[in-house]
């Protein structure tokens, strides 16, 4: 059986301490700039905060993974290199990378520190994964959320590195690292700036009939009746019309969360080494509840006990949830 490490989100130093205290095996975090894919206002770490946070985590036996998982545009590569150097100086346990130039720099400059391949690299076949393992010494791949469990098992047999999968949180629809939807509407790039459907461009407009529309950069992403709760306008979870769908429909996916708690035993059995909980933008109490519940479940499964899956399922109660591609390829 694999170790089944729990990889938990740390959007702030306080969230990091919360995740560590709640039983995370590792936390992942980033700096307050474009070098990571959650470059949101009010999130992330200054260098001083990172240094103190690494010390706190290490004292409790928790690893710190630094996300450097965006793509530097030409002329700005130094920012990513400096971030790697800073992380190395503070003793982070691994870098999570996507860009080949960044991976190459770290592999040459900080060969003693583990490299994890970000989901932003979109490596979804054994060959792609082996490319990063053989060229940059990648020790772990974070798999895109598009594979079924039999497919994950198959990949596991064909690659020389560990596998990490998302297990809970936001359910990305597009191939990560290949999406410019946000940049098309707002001028801020997911790949280069670490920005996705930014709050600064979001507006909720109330109409005379009591209905509400949610907009990004002036584009209506969804409309809600007066009795509906208006959701956050993420472009890939918006409602649009098409020639065959004049009524309007969720063209890509409904607003929905990923929750693989029911599949946890099967994923462990398939050889997944680490489970990632999404949500660096989430509150401390959310992090505490989710990490505690998954900690208990993983410990139960590892001890051969029946895990109390109901607690995990309840975490998204009231919100729609999916097992996405993990359960069936009909999702595609």
């Amino acid at each position: 059986m694999s170790l089944a490490e729990l990889i938990c989100p740390a959007g702030t130093p306080a969230a990091l301490r919360t995740a560590v205290d709640a039983g995370a095996d590792a936390v992942y975090c980033g700096f307050q700039d474009a070098t990571n894919a959650r470059n949101f206002p009010g999130l992330n770490f200054t260098p001083d905060e990172l240094a103190a946070s690494v010390a706190y985590a290490h004292e409790k036996g928790t690893k710190v993974l630094l996300a450097l998982n965006t793509y530097p545009p030409a002329g700005k590569v130094d920012l990513w290199r400096q971030a790697a150097d800073t992380g190395a100086r503070f003793g982070v346990d691994a870098f999570i990378v996507a860009d080949m130039g960044v991976a190459d720099y770290i592999a040459r400059t900080h060969p003693g520190i583990r490299l994890h391949l970000s989901v932003q690299a979109a490596a979804s076949s054994p060959e792609a994964i082996r490319y990063y393992c053989e060229n940059f010494g990648v020790k772990r791949v974070v798999l895109p959320r598009i594979l079924t469990i039999p497919e994950i098992r198959q990949i596991r047999e064909e690659i020389p590195c560990e596998i990490e999968t998302f297990i809970f949180g936001n359910h990305g629809l597009m191939v990560e690292g290949r999406c410019s939807l946000t940049n098309y509407l707002t001028g801020q790039s997911t790949n280069m700036d670490g920005v996705c459907s930014p709050a600064s461009d979001v507006e909720y407009v109330r109409h005379d009939d009591g209905s509400m529309s949610s907009q990004i950069a002036g584009f209506t992403i969804d409309c809600f009746g007066s009795d509906e709760k208006a959701g956050y306008p993420t472009i890939c979870k918006g409602r649009y019309t098409a020639p065959h769908r004049p009524e309007g429909y969720y063209a890509f996916e409904e607003p929905i969360s990923l929750n693989l708690s029911r599949l946890l035993p099967e994923l462990i059995e398939a050889g997944v080494h680490a489970f990632k909980i999404e949500g660096r933008q989430r509150s401390k109490s959310y992090v505490r509840n989710v990490v505690r519940a998954f900690r208990a479940a993983v410990d139960d499964i590892r001890a051969g006990r029946e895990a109390n899956i109901a607690d995990l399922v309840a975490l998204t109660e009231g919100q729609k949830q999916t097992q996405g591609a993990f359960e069936t390829k009909k999702w595609r």
Partner: protein, 308 residues
């Protein structure tokens, strides 16, 4: 000097599921009439479509080469299933033609043999381009969303390494790819049971906001921009930066005419405003955009932002 410095015009791979017959006719016209130097062929978006084209491919290649066009074969952008892995491996083994790689699985299969880097490979910066060049890349297509200052730096680095540099100047931008087929979804089907409904939308399926603004186009697993990128006003600047190849993406408009107007503008036989007017007429009211180039929202059209 002016002639040797002139950028080449290329025709990118057809993104849509055009029928075999339509493709054959299309490339016959391109061969005979379109002033493009290089043509990229092959299914890049959906592996299910590939069998429909394979029979015609040798004829099309022969036709284009007879007309003096260089043919480059492009690989799939998404590689996950067995058939996709096999297709990528087979393409990487081709030595009769140059190949363009669009997925890291293709890089793995290529080893250090010469290859081109396609637009899905995320060659955003000089460090990555240098890495790729050392692994055998001879040419790089820059990401569509890269803004002008980064294009300039990336181009200089690539040229110093002896690489060709290509930028898409015309056609819808690829904004996203997915494991899920949104064409099938729109028709209540799954990808495995799609019945190739994407064939009906030769320029993509429009997605329109609830307040009637068209913004995106669905093409199977790909999401594209509603607007056509048009960097006609910027081609001089691109050439000045050292960009060697300008890519036209096939849309369901008269692509021979598009290539001709770009060619005439490159050769300065047509001034910019005339060229733009002709292009607008050819494209029948499709919105044009150049926002990515100017570091603005991609859909925007920045008027005469930086005339050189």
């Amino acid at each position: 000097m002016a002639v040797t410095n002139m950028a080449k015009l290329t025709l990118g791979p057809i993104a849509y599921h055009w029928s075999a017959e339509r493709r054959r006719d299309f490339y016959a016209c391109i061969a005979d009439e379109a002033p493009v130097d290089e043509v990229y062929l092959g299914e890049v978006i959906c592996s299910k479509r590939a069998p429909f084209q394979e029979a015609e491919l040798p004829t099309i290649i022969e036709r284009l080469e007879r007309a003096g066009k260089q043919v480059v074969l492009s690989s799939l952008a998404e590689v996950m299933l067995k058939r996709e892995r096999k297709a990528t491996e087979d393409l990487a083994a081709i030595d009769s033609h140059e190949i363009e790689i669009n997925n890291a699985a293709g890089l793995y299969a290529c080893g250090k043999r010469p290859h081109r880097i396609g637009p899905f490979m995320n060659a955003y910066n000089e460090a990555t381009i240098k890495w790729m060049a050392h692994q055998g890349a001879t040419h790089v297509v820059l990401p569509t969303e890269l803004p002008a200052p980064a294009i300039a730096v990336a181009t200089r680095a690539a040229r110093d390494l002896g690489l060709g540099v290509e930028v898409q100047v015309f056609g819808r931008a690829s904004l996203a790819v997915s494991a899920r087929c949104y064409h099938a979804r729109a028709h209540g089907r799954t990808k495995d049971n799609c019945q190739f409904v994407c064939e009906d939308d030769t320029d993509g399926m429009p997605l329109i906001t609830r307040d009637d603004r068209p913004i995106l186009r669905v093409n199977g697993i790909q999401t594209q921009s509603e607007s056509y990128i048009d960097l006609m006003p910027e081609v001089k600047r691109l050439a000045g930066d050292g960009v060697t190849h300008l890519r036209l993406m096939p849309q369901a408009v008269d692509m021979v005419a598009v290539a001709q107007v770009y060619r005439r503008a490159l050769e300065r036989r047509l001034d910019l405003s005339e060229a733009e007017a002709v292009l607008r007429e050819i494209c029948g009211g499709a919105p044009f955009s150049n926002g990515f180039f100017h570091g603005e929202a991609g859909y925007r059209r920045i008027a005469n932002a930086n005339p050189v």
